[in-house]
Structure formats: C-alpha cells, structure tokens
C-alpha cells in the first residue's frame, strides 16, 4: 500500500489534468471545460436571437414599414423563438448545471463524461444545422410551434420545415443524453452525508428540469418524426382528409411545450434560490417548501398543456379541467416567491449586481406570473390568446427567467469559473439598462394585445393606434440589448483584467466555494463529508481548503475516480473509474450531422455514410480500454 502524501494534490493533478488548449479541444470530457463551451455557445445564440428580435422590432417600429418582406420576417420570428428557447435558455441552464452541479454536490465529475461531451457537441451541431438554413434563405418559417397543415408539404413545400424538424430531432438526442447524465449524477454521486434534504435548491431545480426533459422530449421527437414521415413519405398523421387530425400535432407539441417552459423556469428559480440567500446573508426560509414547490411545478406542469388550445373548440369539460390545473400550477411558484420575500425581510440584503438582477427578476416573474394566471381563465384567454398580450406574458416569464438569473449567475459564478470578479460599477449599469429596457420592450405588449394586435404579424395598419406602443417596444429592445452587451463585455474583460476572486468572494454556503477559483482539474482535493445544508457556513474546515480525512475528507487519489453514493442518504457505495479524453463523442456528432443532412437533402448515400460513421463511433466509444470497469 502506497503511503499518500499529506496533500495529494500533485497526484490528483496528474490523474485529472487534460492537456490544455487545442490538443483536447475536441476530446475534452472535463465537466468544467464542457460547461464553459455550453455557456459560450448558448450566449452566442442569445446574441443571434437578440439580433433577430432587433431586426423584427425595427420592422415593427412603425406601421406599414417595408424593411422586411413577409417571408424574411416569418423566418426571423420562427428562428428567434427556436433560438431563444432551444439554443439559449435550455442550454445555458444545462451549462451552469454541468459546471456547478458536480461542485455543489462534492463530486469531481458527472456520471457519464463522454456522454456529457456528446450532448454538448450535439447541441452545437443541431444549432449549426438549423442555422445553416439561413445560408440558402430557407430558415424555418412556421413559427416555433410549427402547426400543420401550414407546415405540411402542401403549404410548406421547401426545406424550411425539414430544417426545423430534423434539427429538433437531433437536438433531442443531445437533450435526452444530458437528462440521463444529470439525473444519474444528482441521484448517485452526491458527497457522503449530502442526504436529499441537504441538497442545494439549485441542484433540486436542475433535477426537476432534467426529469421533465426526460418525459417531455419524447412528445416533441414523436411529433417531428411524424411530421417528416408525413411530409416526405406521405404517411397520414395530421391531414384530416386521410384520417389524420391537425390537433394531434398541437397535443403532442404542447405535451412537450408546456413542460418546456418549466424546464426553463425551474433551474432559473434554483439560481435565484442560490444567489438570494447568499446576499441576504442567511439561509433560504422554507427550504422544504421551496424544494417541494420546484417538484410540484414540474409535475403539475405536465397536466396543463391544453391551455394552449383554448381557442380550438375542444369540449368544455376538457377546457375546465385544464383551466383548474392551470390556475393551480401558479401555487408552487407563488410559494417560492413568498419564501424569497421571507428570506429578504429576515436577512440583510446586500445590493450587489447579482442581487440586483435577482430582485429585478422577482418583480418581472410576478408580473409574468399574474398575466399567466389571467390566461388560465378560459374565456379571458380566448380573448387574449394569439395577441400581443400573450407575447408579453411569455416574454416576462421566459425572457425574465432565461435572462435575469443567467446574467445574475454570470456575475455570481463568473468569478468562480474564471477566477476574477466582474466590474461592479458596470454591472450595476448593465442591470439598470437591461431592467428598464426589458420593461419598456415588453410591458406595452400587454396593452397592444388588449387593443387588438395579433401576434406573428410582420406589419400592421396605421389607423389602429398601435404605432406609439410599438415604437416604445423597439426602443426598449435596444436599451435592453445595450445592457446585455455591457455584461458580456464586462465578462470578457474581467477574465483578463478583473480583480482576483479568491475561493469564496461572496462568503456563500454551498460547496463550489470550497474549491479554488477556478477549481483545479480535480475540483476537490478531498471529497468532503457533508453534515449540513450549508456546508461552508457550518463546517469551518471547508473554508481552509481540503477537508482532512479525520473529518471525513476522502482523497480518492489512487486513480481517475469518483465516489458513487446511495440515493437517499448519500452513503458511499462504490468507487467509479472515469474515462479520459475521447474523440468518439465528437465523431458521433459528425456522423449524426451527416445523417441529418442526408435526411434533409434526401441523398441516401450521405445519410448512409453518416449512419455508418455514427455506428463506428459508438463502437469506438464503448470499446473496452480498461479505463472504466463497466462495459
């Protein structure tokens, strides 16, 4: 038996370090490097989605403008929705999760590092696949919910909808893989002693998000595969003439689509529940209720999808039932807001930039929430659905939760990831511009909806009095854009010139702050034993560095290893070997890319080649190499 040195950090460094830079850029399986890739890519898509929105807002700034022709506008609003939801909101929270979850639960890695790599590459590839449609001017133009018959072959004969369907199927493979990875990690790799009721709320939020993805994604995959089969092989799912039904798409889409909004909401609320207690200088009041509320929202969220179909003439019994569940789903969200308020009034709130973003978010979330409750009422919804009122509602909620907690997290966790603080003064400026711009951009939409403006319209008549509100919204959009850009520039500059952050600049309570900033390749020098919901506030030894083995710290330094623990009580069960860098996830992505382009162009050879490369990559991936013990 080898005697370990007192601090085995050199050994761990050898075991866990990947070659930096280009050498392992394609083959990295390090959760921190993959997470940063997720974040950079997601933010790039945020900018692209923002550009799409800005161009649309220019077209809508005044009545009857001819800046854009209708086809271009329709492609822009479709891609804006797809980009913001699928390519920004969901991946950005996955990205923060990939970085922070192993750290917050006291692990060195996620359960399946190569799968982690594949889900990132798959995300980028699917995004590139869909965006490549712009190169031939045939971006999807059926709206992000893509209803047939408009999107069937007869009314959309071009490849636009094929880019949509195939791109989302591709993305769905990545999302499903990520969900499996997250859930296994959270359930089976928590540090010893981190029982479920000592798990941070952000981790609960991500668990709720990923479980929802696991059960919601199949609905979208099914609908898009059905649409492709109908479009190109003339199968009959949605065309009424041959026994199909247009509403089948709507049901399947919204069975996915409604949980999707909670998929975006829950990790965002988890971030709020992380940042707010830190700067209120006290634990979250009502932790148990907040956790139950997160899970209840996810669960009830699967039972409300029909509220997107209130105007379709469905039987009133169905509408009434769904109206009830739609009212009730607001309760757990409200519970979380009241927990935040209780935490604020019993703490000492410090108005740092991340805290400002969190507070701004709470107001925005409440406004979005109450407008959502209004749409739970069937008759009221039937007057406001498909109008700008509903555009206001979902931008307050989705834009609110995807943007504000994300920006807060960049200021909060950026220092952990890059080792340097962002500029606080520019941070506050960015907050006010983003917050003011956001409200100017979206609040008037409530009014426009009420005064009759339908959504998804590329222009509007001049005698209706809609001009001034539209102009206000356009101005607000640009102000918000400036605010967001300031944050991005702030982040980039801080990575080089920011003040060094130290391990724990905020004096926070969760385990990620026990590591260096940025963390070493091996994250934790010893896997800590956790004895509290607030490890860094209650276990002072964690603030000094590695938890010594006498107090429970496990160096686990004899291999490239992590600890697997039991589901409920996180009792150590096994030691698991983790794989090293691998190019196979990337090659699998390339193969799938080929397959999907082959399917798009209907060139069988390309599809077959892509399929072949994919198969070879899977074999290469699982080929036994003695790195892991399982295959």
């Amino acid at each position: 038996m080898t005697t370990l040195a007192d601090r085995p950090s050199e050994r761990l460094e050898q075991l866990w370090a990947e070659e930096p830079g280009l050498g392992t850029w394609l083959s990295t399986v390090d959760h921190k490097r993959l997470a940063k890739k997720y974040l950079y890519t997601a933010i790039t898509f945020l900018i692209l989605g923002g550009i799409e929105a800005s161009v649309m807002r220019l077209q809508l700034a005044h009545s009857n403008l001819k800046l854009l022709d209708p086809e271009t506008y329709n492609q822009l609003f479709t891609m804006h929705g797809i980009t913001m939801i699928f390519l920004f909101a969901v991946p950005v929270f996955s990205g923060f999760g990939v970085y922070m979850i192993p750290l917050m639960i006291g692990s060195r890695e996620m359960a399946f590092p190569r799968l982690n790599a594949f889900t990132y590459w798959g995300f980028v590839a699917a995004g590139i696949f869909m965006y490549s449609s712009f190169l031939i001017g045939k971006a999807p133009d059926g709206g992000w919910f893509n209803y047939p018959p408009l999107t069937s072959q007869s009314f959309s004969p071009g490849p636009n909808i094929d880019f949509y369907a195939l791109g989302l199927i591709f993305l769905g493979l990545a999302s499903t893989g990520a969900a499996i990875n997250f859930i296994t990690t959270i359930l089976k790799m928590r540090a010893p002693g981190m029982t479920l009721n000592r798990m941070p709320i952000f981790v609960w939020g991500e668990l709720a998000m990923q479980v929802s993805i696991l059960f919601a994604q199949p609905a979208l995959t099914l609908a898009t595969v059905m649409l492709m089969l109908q479009r190109h092989w003339h199968w009959h799912f949605f065309d009424p003439g041959a026994g199909g039904d247009a509403l089948l798409w709507q049901h399947l889409f919204w069975i996915f689509g409604h949980p999707l909004v909670y998929i975006v909401l829950l990790p965002g609320l988890g971030i709020v529940a992380t940042i707010l207690p830190t700067f209120a200088r006290r634990p979250m009041v009502g932790y148990t209720w907040v956790v139950l509320a997160e899970m209840a929202t996810a669960f009830i969220g699967f039972g409300v999808w029909v509220h997107h179909m209130f105007a379709t003439g469905l039987p009133s019994l169905a509408l009434s039932f769904v109206s009830l569940t739609s009212f009730l789903v607001a309760i757990p969200s409200g519970i979380q807001v009241f927990a935040y308020l209780a935490t604020l009034v019993t703490g000492k709130p410090k108005l740092t930039t991340p805290m400002l973003y969190v507070l701004g978010f709470i107001l925005i979330f409440v406004i979005g929430g109450v407008s959502g409750v209004m749409t739970a009422s069937v008759p009221l919804d039937q007057t406001v659905t498909d109008s700008y009122f509903v555009v206001a509602h979902f931008h307050y909620i989705m834009g609110g939760v995807a943007l504000f907690p994300t920006l807060a997290a960049l200021y909060y966790w950026g220092p952990k990831m890059f080792g340097r603080l962002l500029d606080e003064r520019w941070g506050k400026i960015s907050f006010w511009l983003t917050f003011i711009g956001f409200n100017l951009a979206f609040f008037p939409m409530h009014i426009l909806g009420v005064i009759g403006m339908p959504r998804r319209t590329y222009t509007y008549a001049s005698h209706l009095g809609w001009d001034s509100w539209n102009l206000t919204e356009t101005i607000g959009t640009f102000i918000m854009g400036v605010g967001i850009l300031i944050t991005i520039v702030n982040l980039v500059r801080s990575t080089r010139r920011g003040e060094p952050a130290g391990n724990d600049p905020w004096d926070a309570d969760t385990l990620e702050w026990a590591t260096t900033s940025p963390p070493a390749d091996y994250d934790f020098e010893t896997i800590p034993e956790v004895r509290s919901l607030h490890p860094l506030w209650d276990q002072p030894e964690l603030k000094d560095g590695a938890q010594p083995p006498e107090l429970g710290g496990r160096p686990l330094a004899h291999g490239h290893r992590v600890l697997a623990t039991s589901l409920l009580d996180a009792k150590p069960e096994a030691v698991v070997d983790m794989p090293h860098e691998s190019l196979w996830p990337f090659f699998l992505t390339v193969g799938l890319m080929g397959f999907f382009y082959g399917a798009l162009t209907r060139i069988g050879l390309v599809a077959a080649l892509g399929g072949f490369v994919s198969l070879v990559s899977i074999v290469g991936w699982i080929w036994p190499r003695g790195q892991t013990q399982e295959m």
Partner: protein
C-alpha cells in the same frame, strides 16, 4: 471482490458495482423511462385518431388484422425473455456457460420474431393497409415499426454483450452490462404487450 481505499482511514469500497449501485444501470433505467414515454405517446395517438375517426375501424375497405401470425410472433418474443433472465441470473452466480447459452437462445428467438415481422407480416400488411393509405395504415406501421426498431437495436446490443461474454469480460461481480441489456430486452417485450393489444386485438374486441 475488488475493494479499494478511498483515503478515509479504514474505509474500503467496491471497485465494481452492479444493479442499482451502478451508474450505468441508472443510465439504462432512465433511457427505458424516456423510450417508454415515446411508446405511450404513440399508442395514445393511435387511440386519439381512432376515436376521432368514428365507429368504423379499421376504416372501410380494410380488413381487421389477422391474429394467427402475430400471436405466434408474440409467443416467440415473450419466450425470449426467459433465457435472457436465466442468463442474467447465471452470471450473477458466475456461470459463463449459462450466460453465453442464455444470451444466444434469447437472440435467436428475438431474431426470429423480427424476421417474421419483416418477411411474413409486413408484406401482407403493405398490401392491405400501407402507410400512405390513411391514418390506420400509418399508425400500424409507426407502432410496429418503432417497436421493431427497438428489437433490432436490442439484437445489436446483444451481439456486443455476447462478444464480451465470450471474451470473459463478465463474472459474478462485474456484469452490469448484462443486467442493463436484459433490462432493456424485458422492456421491449413488455412494450409488445401494448402493441399487440392496440394494433391486433383492439380492432376485434373494442
């Protein structure tokens, strides 16, 4: 049994895990959960379109599906779970021979099922209700096709596991890949219960 130190004084933990202690077992269980949801939604779509179509089902001109071949296929498929289960138990006790035999028998039964579907059942169905003929044909081929694809993938995975078994990769401690495959295979067989009930039995009895 391979035990390793964690570095905490006196603590030794297994280096190989199986069943719910294994991470990959959870991976497979979660994959099954998502695929089960996919099948559930597709079968729900069948019922949805059927009840929108009204009382005549299959639609006019299409005969009700015959039961003989599908029932034989069902027997073959379901019985393939028995040697698979047997193989799984065998390796947990360390028996290499029974592992290999069980997996091979299971594979042969599964392959027979798939061959019957592709070469006996489908040619007949393509004649009377091809997918392009209407929602009935579309649903028939969607549901049986999705299931058949899962059988095909299972057969491929089984070949891999069998190859590893022949290489001696598994023993009484290290066998989670066998467990994962068998779990998947049972899942595919259970799904067939719903496929049989929906596609073949319901037009006759409901």
């Amino acid at each position: 049994m391979d035990l390793v130190e964690t570095g905490k004084p006196g603590e030794l933990l297994p280096h190989v895990a199986s069943g719910a202690r294994s991470l990959s077992w959870w991976g497979m269980a979660l994959l099954i959960a998502t695929e089960a949801t996919l099948f559930a939604l597709l079968i729900a779509s069948y019922w949805y379109l059927r009840f929108r179509a009204g009382p005549v089902w299959p639609p006019h001109g299409i005969e009700k599906p015959s039961l003989g071949l599908p029932l034989i296929m069902s027997g073959i498929l379901w019985s393939s779970s028995i040697p698979a289960h047997w193989a799984d138990r065998a390796i947990q006790k360390g028996s290499q021979f029974r592992l290999r035999l069980g997996l091979m028998l299971s594979w042969m039964l599964g392959a027979t099922f798939l061959l019957l579907q592709i070469f006996a059942e489908y040619p007949h169905s393509l004649k009377i209700n091809p997918p392009s003929s209407g929602s009935y044909g579309t649903l028939f081929f969607s549901i049986t096709g999705l299931h058949g694809a899962h059988v095909a993938v299972g057969l491929l995975v089984s070949l891999w596991v069998q190859a590893r078994a022949w290489q001696g990769a598994f023993d009484e401690h290290r066998h989670v890949s066998v467990q994962n495959f068998v779990m998947y295979w049972h899942f595919v067989d259970i799904v067939w219960v719903f496929v049989l009930a929906t596609i073949y039995l319901s037009p006759r009895f409901l």
